[in-house]
Amino acid sequence: MTTTHPNAMSDIEAHGHERSAEGEVQPTIELVTQEGKNKQLGVWLFIAAESVLFASFFAVYLALRHSIPNGPQPKDLFELPLVFVMTAILLTSSFTSVMAVMNMRQLKSSAMKGWLVLTWLLGFSFLLLEIYEFNHYVHMGHTFTSSAFGTAFYSLVGFHGAHVAFGLLWLMTLLLRNARREITPYTAPKVYSFSLYWHFVDLVWVFIFTIVYLMGKVG
């Protein structure tokens, strides 16, 4: 026989049934569904794992940044004004995605999309500047194969660039598929996941401009 156990309900109260406990504080739109909660946690876990992946590339770079049997030194290579502009652009794009999420939570669909488009444009200009920068280095003789330093540099910065490019593809897909949709508990977690990812890409850049570019100039 399958009946609800008579003690079941009192047990829920005694042990603080998680769902009912969360029910008291209403969640924001991206967290109402189980899928939304899973997505948020999943992206965080992914970010944690990716941090260690980037950390490994950073560690390799730090170990090899003086290993330049031939090719130019970081001091002669890096141009701080360009890096500063790139940094400012990426930071701003991270901020615009914050604004997008704030508007999403208020269900302001068109404002959210506007901020997302702005994020995309900023991200895209960052990517263009990075391509320009790499092209410039190659002409100076600093290539992927020129030295261990070269490989470590392009592995790290290029891997970040690949993350930016992937983020742009992701955001474009999101914008396309949601172009005519409203904000729902089904679509909101997707936007929120993207914004978390995009912030993470920005966080990595903070360490890149510090450790690769600024330290390349002084250390």
Partner: protein, 110 residues
């Protein structure tokens, strides 16, 4: 979706305003920290100041900035972020091990 509440919170006007203030401040602080870091390096190069100091200074700035963005932009400060926070710190721990390991145990002279 069965078994799940479909009601969710729409932040009210006051919450929006305070949140907007916090996020904008975070942005301003980020930009400020960035300028500070670049400025420190330019200063160090031109004035020939201690490079060790410059390096530790900019790394400290980077750590502050990352913590700031993670807590505010990525909402780690918000309720219900205990597990993400835990994993954030685990990642910091493994990162530290990896970086220390490769930086200090890869090269040695005879």
């Amino acid at each position: 979706m069965s078994g799940e509440s479909s009601t969710f919170k729409r932040p009210d006007r006051r919450e929006i305003r305070s949140e907007l203030k916090v996020q904008t401040t975070a942005f301003a602080v980020s930009i400020f920290l960035t300028i500070l870091a670049f400025g420190a390096v330019v200063y160090a190069i031109e004035q020939g100041a201690s490079q060790g100091f410059a390096v530790s200074f900019i790394i400290a700035l980077a750590i502050v900035q990352v913590a700031f963005q993670a807590y505010i932009w990525m909402h780690l400060k918000d309720k219900g972020h205990g597990v993400p926070q835990l994993f954030f710190y685990m990642a910091v721990y493994v990162t530290a091990m990896t970086v220390i390991g490769l930086m200090f145990m890869s090269w040695w002279s005879a």
